[in-house]
């Protein structure tokens, strides 16, 4: 078989396609986006053999995946770590209802917060959902993971999570691909009532889920992703989860004197962990993300033998992703001093592109809310426009999570803040903003919602936005008065006109919406390059 140079995300997508995938659903989010983008590019999608779509949000994606699984087909759902917060309800409850066709849920964590607002570790969710999880250590395992996960899912009739981290998602390696298998044919579950989570039925399903935990642990112990490497020197044992295993190998080499437990499947492989704990005097724990395993090993009260060392004891940094230097440091190996860091380079943070429509919208908002009006605040959201928190704009006052701009503005206005302006993108609005706008309408909240509609999901690379050209209709449908739904074109030429519209709507008591429509200059440039209309 030939090798290909693939991102972890591309390898995973190809692995799923080759493992008989029938449906893939996702909301884009770094570092998960390329999984679904890769599926979308496959001829199986173009020719109608695989259903693949960007959905309104992660929750609707997971529910669609569960539905496809109900129909007996193999389904895959992908999201970034904070997307799992949005999809937590179907995530936890689908472990109780179970799956029918194989269902895998890819969750990409972002330790070091390269492109995220936190570095939460999705493995913590496993303690709530109690479903199995694979954690591939490299791109080759990422390719094999979907096949293994589909089989596990169908054997135990339960969704299976695949946990990824940024470095695996966005690193390329040579990958050997294999043969593909046929898709499942349509079928419905023979025990359909387990999908009715009425309390009396849910209690039975929950009891079954608990009963199966020992089987899941046995699966983890026998997993192709989990290996106990023998070592004669038992003064130290090494445990490494997922990609951390390769950082360890990079430092200790192929022939390591100490035993190494490589962990690639959850629930944690208890008997292998017990073995290392009983044989070794000290355990070093390597995991990218939270000290999830380390915390469990330490227990309460803290034990003396074996001693457990890792992120919680300062042997590794408590936060941020692992690096080969940090891993070497945990083994007491210093990185040799070479050249000192230069003091010359200035920071070069990401910024709005020259000519970005958001810049014009923010300039107009500033003229009304910021210039000479120190009581006003702009509650913003997740997207490129969040970069307007930085100079020269400094328009954005808050950014917490998807959709919070509208509802925080509402609450703040009810606390007495005025004017309360919300700044949200088109796809963030359809992801999690619409329900908040309905709250504003129902309470006649004194909020002006500025929807910056650049006709795409720009920050993640230009995916299709859910409600292109339908935002005004949606706002009217939610009950915003027609005369307070205004559409502007954010350009420098129309600055004065746009300021006047914003000023009128901000002065209006009650909810109003200003939709600033102009295509993202990145997608406009790409469609021109392809010879499409500008």
């Amino acid at each position: 078989m030939p090798t290909r140079l693939l991102l972890g995300n591309e390898a995973l997508a190809q692995g799923a396609i080759d493992a008989g995938l029938s449906g893939a659903y996702a909301y884009p989010g770094t570092p998960s986006t390329e999984i679904t983008a890769t599926v979308l590019k496959s001829p199986d999608v173009a020719e109608g053999r695989i259903r693949c779509a960007w959905t309104a949000n992660e929750k609707t994606a997971l529910e669609a995946g569960l539905g496809m699984s109900y129909g007996g087909k193999r389904a895959m759902v992908s999201m970034k770590h904070v997307g799992l917060n949005v999809a937590a309800d179907p995530f936890i409850n689908s472990a109780i209802s179970g799956a029918h066709g194989g269902l895998i849920i890819n969750v990409a964590d972002d330790p070091s917060m390269h492109s995220s607002q936190n570095e939460q570790d999705s493995r913590v969710y496993l303690d709530l959902a109690m479903m199995p999880c694979l954690e591939p250590a490299d791109q080759q395992e990422a390719y094999h993971a979907p096949g293994i996960a589909f089989a596990l899912s169908e054997k135990h009739r339960i969704p299976v999570m695949i946990r990824l981290t940024t470095r695996l998602c966005h690193s390329r390696a040579t990958v050997m691909t294999g043969d593909s298998v046929e898709q499942n044919s349509f079928s419905t579950p023979d025990d359909e009532r387990r999908f009715i989570l009425l309390p009396a039925l849910a209690r039975r399903s929950y009891a079954k889920l608990l009963e199966r935990q020992p089987e899941f642990i046995a699966e983890s112990e026998a997993s192709p992703f989990t290996t106990y490497f023998e070592g004669d020197d038992q003064s130290l044992g090494i445990m490494a989860c997922g990609t951390a295993y390769h950082y360890v190998r990079e430092i200790v080499g192929e022939a390591c004197a100490h035993p190494i437990l490589k962990i690639g499947q959850y629930p944690l492989p208890e008997s292998l962990i017990e073995r290392m704990m009983s044989e070794c005097n000290r355990i070093l724990v390597f995991e990218d993300g939270y000290p999830y395993l380390e915390g469990k090993l330490r227990g309460l009260p803290l034990r003396d033998t074996p001693r457990i060392h890792g992120r919680l004891t300062g042997h590794l940094p408590r936060t941020g992703e692992l690096t080969p230097g940090a891993v070497a440091g945990a083994f007491g190996i210093d990185t040799p001093d070479t050249l000192a860091a230069s003091s010359i380079p200035a920071p070069r943070p990401p910024a709005l592109c020259p000519g970005c429509p958001h810049a014009d919208t923010c300039n107009a908002i500033n003229a009304v809310v910021k210039d000479g009006n120190p009581t006003g605040r702009v509650f913003s959201d997740i997207g490129c426009y969040t970069l307007a928190a930085m100079p020269p704009y400094e328009t954005v006052d808050t950014c917490v999570e998807m959709g919070s701009s509208i509802t925080m503005a509402k609450g703040a206005s009810q606390a007495g803040l005025t004017p309360a302006v919300s700044l949200i993108g088109d796809s963030t609005f359809t992801h999690s903003g619409m329900t908040g706008l309905l709250d504003c309408v129902n309470e006649n909240a004194d909020v002006t919602v500025v929807i910056v509609d650049n006709l795409t999901i720009a920050m993640t690379g230009g995916q299709t936005s859910s409600a292109n050209n339908r935002l005004a209709e949606i706002c009217a449908g939610l009950g915003v008065e027609r005369e307070h739904i205004r559409i502007i074109e954010p350009t420098p030429n129309k600055h004065e006109e746009n300021v006047a519209v914003l000023r009128r709507e901000i002065e209006h008591h009650g909810p109003s919406v200003v939709i600033a429509v102009r295509e993202c200059i990145q997608t406009a440039r790409r469609s021109r390059a392809k010879g499409g209309s500008s």
């Binding site: 770094t30 470095r167 390329r172 040579t174 990401p350």
Partner: protein
């Protein structure tokens, strides 16, 4: 022969760094080497700092990230960015950079300061990639000029690198591929002349 290379590729969002990385990776793969390359996506790409760690070897390798003090080459599309990663460089490593600044920040340092810091490095080459890209026929080919400029340090055959250009740009019109190949050649020659 054992081959082992650790590279830091540096630039600013929009300069074509990931295409450059993809070509080196493809060339190393085609030569039968183990390849690992970490890159940056998402928010950071918006006009901010972009870097990629690239490692290839005839022996198995594990970490996609380059360890401090072990990079054989820093290849940069922008002079200030070349200086950002010096602690990654091994003691006799090389720095090859485009000499033309990309100024999208208000506090860009004095160019003389950057020049003298680069000149102080034992093993460095500064190439005017903008001028050579124009000579090749397209400003956007500056990244291929720098690929050519870095080529003497890559321990990959120029043929496989050129094949890599054809592979990564496959689907583009022939004229664009020819421009990129010419840019590569001009960068290679300028780099050797600067040695």
């Amino acid at each position: 022969m054992t081959i082992q290379r650790n590279l830091i590729l540096a630039g600013v969002g929009g300069q074509g760094l990931l295409a450059l990385a993809a070509i080196i990776g493809e060339a190393a793969r085609a030569q039968g080497l183990h390849v690992l390359q970490a890159e940056v996506h998402g928010m950071a790409q918006r006009g901010g700092v972009v870097q990629s760690h690239m490692r290839y070897s005839s022996d198995p390798i594990h970490s996609a990230l380059v360890k401090m003090g072990t990079a054989h080459l820093i290849l940069s599309l922008e002079p200030m960015e070349a200086l950002r990663y010096l602690p990654y460089l091994e003691s006799d490593g090389a720095v090859v950079t485009n000499s033309v600044p990309f100024k999208n920040i208000p506090d860009y340092p004095a160019e003389d300061e950057i020049k003298s810091a680069l000149s102080a490095l034992e093993n460095h080459r500064a190439i005017d990639a903008v001028d050579l890209a124009k000579q090749a026929g397209a400003l956007q080919a500056a990244n291929m000029v720098m690929l050519g400029a870095g080529a003497p340090f890559l321990v990959l055959s120029p043929d496989t690198l050129q094949e890599g250009i054809r592979t990564v740009f496959s689907g583009k019109p022939d004229a664009i591929i020819e421009t990129n190949l010419l840019a590569f050649q001009l960068g290679f020659e300028a780099s050797e002349a600067a040695a």
